[in-house]
């Protein structure tokens, strides 16, 4: 049995857990809840095994020693690690807050992310490392960044749920904000799904995003398709905005109070922020210093990390200001994670820089 067997197992477990968690929400029977937790833990264990096995496979193949061979070198592996951190974070919250309702939100993200990796035909090959990437600082940098990203992802979902729960009027700015953000996320996912269906591409994700992303919709050469895409985007955002109360009604069933959501948002950021500072910014700078002789060069990736850092600093200080607690800082936490996504994907794939996994030329 190799790593991909266990990856497959964990994907199925998370999708199953999602179904059980939703059933639990509907019937509120504690046996169902316990089953959901057990299935999630089983998925988590099998994913852990898969990561360890892949680590070993990589180490055997590259002959570079165990530490250097951590499976965190490409988009595929880092997404898997992200999902792992997310589930770990979720399980901790479930035990601490004794509330399972969240599972229905988090396990779909995990299961779909893993399934998405499979469907997209992302390159799963184990690739050897170019010289600049052979660094223990880089390894620590990547691991800690992803732990922080997972914490920020949690704060993002609780932040959005907080906004959904606390907004009343459709004309309120926080309401418009969450409806638009939610709508755009749906649109982007849908547009990518359309891309896959249209091109059925089996290429690396880097190539996919550079050369195919949105080509079937927003960047379609045909003007009609383009206009249709924009129209459906407006329509989806409008529907989210118009029927937001349905979402609110669902979340209200969860038994989560806005205060609890606010606290989880703060706690996740309070954990993510120092880890991101040390691992994301400082270890990244030390690595750059060792590899290139400059600890800070304002390349787009570094700058976006700094922007992310400033947004979360804004969040932490905003909470201390009168009138900012609550909805306003929840908006900031949502914006913060959008910046995280851009730092992670956008910079590598849309803007290119030193970091575009800078091989020496």
């Amino acid at each position: 049995m190799d790593s991909s067997f266990f990856f497959g197992l964990s994907t199925m477990a998370y999708i199953l857990a999602m179904i059980v968690y939703i059933t639990y929400l509907a019937f509120k029977k504690s046996q169902i809840g316990i089953t959901a937790t057990i299935v999630t833990i089983a998925g988590f264990i099998s994913q852990t095994l898969a990561i360890v096995l892949r680590w070993k496979e990589f180490s055997d193949l590259s002959g570079m020693g165990f530490l250097r061979s951590a499976p965190l070198t490409n988009l595929y592996e880092s997404l898997v690690f992200f999902v792992w951190c997310l589930i770990l974070g979720y399980l901790i919250i479930e035990f601490k807050f004794k509330n399972r309702s969240f599972g229905a939100f988090i396990t779909p993200v995990a299961g779909l992310a893993l399934a998405f990796i499979d469907l997209s035909g992302m390159s799963k090959e184990i690739q050897p490392l170019v010289p600049a990437l052979q660094s223990n600082w880089l390894l620590a940098h990547v691991i800690m960044s992803f732990i922080a990203y997972a914490a920020f992802a949690l704060s993002f979902s609780t932040g959005i749920m907080y906004l959904i729960l606390t907004t009343e009027k459709r004309t309120e700015i926080p309401y418009i904000f969450w409806a638009t953000t939610f709508g755009i996320f749906i649109v982007i996912l849908a547009a990518m799904a359309v891309d896959f269906l249209t091109f059925k591409v089996m290429v690396k994700p880097e190539e996919f995003i550079k050369s195919y992303m949105f080509k079937a919709s927003f960047l379609n050469p045909s003007a009609i398709a383009k206009i249709l895409s924009w129209l459906s985007m407006v329509a989806i955002i409008f529907i989210t905005w118009r029927y937001g109360s349905v979402l609110k009604a669902i979340i209200e069933k969860f038994n989560i109070t806005p205060d609890m959501l606010d606290e989880i948002t703060y706690k996740s950021i309070a954990i993510g922020f120092p880890i991101f500072t040390l691992g994301g910014l400082i270890f990244g700078a030390i690595w750059a210093d060792q590899a290139w002789g400059v600890y800070w060069s304002w390349d787009p990736k570094e700058t976006w990390s700094l922007i992310t850092w400033f947004i979360y600093a804004f969040y932490l200080h905003g909470r201390m200001m009168r009138g900012w607690r609550g909805k306003k800082v929840a908006i900031v936490s949502v914006i913060g994670f959008t910046a995280v996504i851009f730092t992670y994907l956008g910079v590598n794939l849309l803007l290119s820089g030193l970091h575009a996994y800078g091989e020496l030329d």
Partner: protein, 481 residues
């Protein structure tokens, strides 16, 4: 209102800089403006940025927008006057904000915890009450032992009907936030030291060459104060692929004619001498030297004797123990054989160095064949001897990034202290604990516990529960609250 009027202009400026409102405005401004610099290519040629701008604003507007943004410093914005200005405002903000608050915080840390009345203790969210049998003097040890076992030391205060035990822990953790803020200044100071007293240069050093200077980005000569020599450069690949595994330069530092330091540097392992660091940055072939390099061979005779030789293109050599000889007739830095069996050069780097050797026996031409550095199976001759091609030397240069930054240690110091500060700020808390023991009418003792924590109350509550159960266990009393 009355007070506001009395404020002088200086007070107003102080208040402006002491406010968190300014801090979050600056966070937002710095974050937003930074985005521009990630879209426009910094310190790049105008054409590229005009092209980027025309994607946003159209062809016709792009040049004039370029001119405006150029004037505003957007083409090198992280060094522009206004961005530096934002950073300065930010630093002043941190300093004044800390100065404003530190005295109060210092008092909170230093001043002894006051004793509180029972009513005051009961107002805390964290409070417990236990009844113990016996007079306060009798149960005192039970209570103090429990406090100690929970990890607190205490001060004892004698009161009318009993005692009060006052404890606190982690009062210094209140400084964590200030350490974090102060560290930002340390990091900025380190960066400034680097800008004014350091340099950043580049040096392309051919194998076998010596240099006493590097070159700045603007082409200025930067004297090093010693000589550096590149003894050798090599690229190692993964297996048979062209994917590089390691770039390695063997460097020597020469001072007053003596070699004082030698090191083989790789990408993540630079060489440092007298505060100047040499990083492996890139490499290349020197085309005018391509035919003039030195081939290094190790020839192993059929009876196992090895001999190292150095040759140039066109040179001939004898193979000991046989009457064979060879002559180097051709060379390729990156040899590939096409499907027709034709040899050709596929890259302008030394990806696959190969020599074509013409072999003769007793003066008679026998055959010629390619010998490849990366393919040991081409080294073995059918007659028994081996011709090992170890290197083609003297035609590559190593590209070194040369840097001096006396501020880097200050920056790292700031990085360490900011990490410590943040971890203290988020994971430690200032906890205060009061335990009153009071005699009641029935010759029993009421134990009243009150506690506060500036952070993470849930974790502290667990501790307090443990304390209460420890006290209760000794005597089998009961808990309320």
């Amino acid at each position: 209102m009355e007070e506001n009027k009395k404020k002088t202009f200086a007070d107003k400026i102080w208040d402006f800089f002491a406010s968190i409102r300014l801090a979050i405005i600056l966070f937002a401004l710095i974050a937003l403006t930074s985005i521009i610099g990630t879209i426009l290519e910094q310190r790049h040629d105008p054409a590229k940025n005009i092209q980027i701008l025309s994607k946003f604003f159209g062809e016709s507007l792009a040049p004039s927008i370029y001119n405006i943004s150029e004037k505003l410093g957007f083409m090198d914005m992280y060094h522009s006057w206004w961005f530096v200005g934002l950073l300065i405002l930010f630093s002043i903000n941190i300093v004044i904000c800390s100065l404003e608050r530190l005295p109060k915080i210092w008092k909170t840390i230093k001043e002894p915890v006051k004793s509180l009345s029972e009513e005051q203790l009961k107002k805390f969210i964290l409070n417990r009450e236990i009844i113990l049998k016996g007079k306060p003097d009798k149960v005192k040890d039970t209570v103090t032992n429990a406090i100690k076992r929970t990890g607190f030391s205490y001060i004892e205060v004698k009161e009318d009907n009993g005692y009060q035990f006052i404890s606190q822990k982690g009062n210094y953790s209140r400084l964590g936030v200030y350490l974090a803020h102060f560290s930002i200044l340390i990091i900025l100071i380190g960066a400034i030291i680097g800008i004014f007293w350091g340099f950043n240069g580049h040096l392309n050093l051919p194998e076998g060459s010596v240099s006493d200077a590097a070159f700045s980005d603007k082409g200025e000569i930067i004297p090093l104060g010693f000589n550096i020599r590149c003894d050798n450069f090599d690229v190692e690949f993964y297996g048979r692929s062209d994917m590089p595994k390691e770039y390695k330069s063997w460097l020597s530092i020469i001072k007053n004619g003596n070699v004082v330091l030698q090191k083989a540097i790789t990408v993540n392992s630079p060489l440092k001498y007298e505060g100047i660091t040499f990083y492996q940055a890139n490499y290349g072939l020197i085309s005018e030297r391509l035919e003039k390099g030195i081939f290094l061979f190790r020839i192993i005779s059929p009876d196992g004797e090895a001999q190292s030789i150095e040759l140039r293109l066109g040179d001939a050599f004898k193979i000991a123990g046989t009457n064979m000889s060879g002559r180097i007739v051709d060379f390729s830095p990156a040899l590939k054989i096409d499907h027709k069996g034709q040899a050709f050069t596929y890259a302008d780097l030394m990806n696959n160095p190969a020599v074509l050797i013409e072999f003769s026996e007793s003066g008679k031409h026998k055959y010629s064949g390619w010998i490849l550095k990366r393919y040991p199976e081409t080294w073995q001759l059918s007659e028994g001897p081996r011709v090992e091609f170890t290197d083609y030397w003297g035609v590559e240069f190593t590209g070194l990034q040369v840097r001096k930054d006396p501020g880097v240690w200050v920056v790292y110091l700031g990085c360490i202290t900011i990490s410590i500060g943040l971890f203290i700020a988020f994971f430690m808390s200032h906890r205060k604990l009061w335990v009153n023991i009071v005699a009641d009418k029935n010759n029993n003792t009421r134990v009243i516990i009150g506690a506060t924590s500036n952070k993470n109350r849930a974790a502290f509550e667990k501790k307090i529960d443990r304390l209460a159960s420890l006290i209760k266990k000794e005597q089998g009393g009961k808990i309320d609250g």
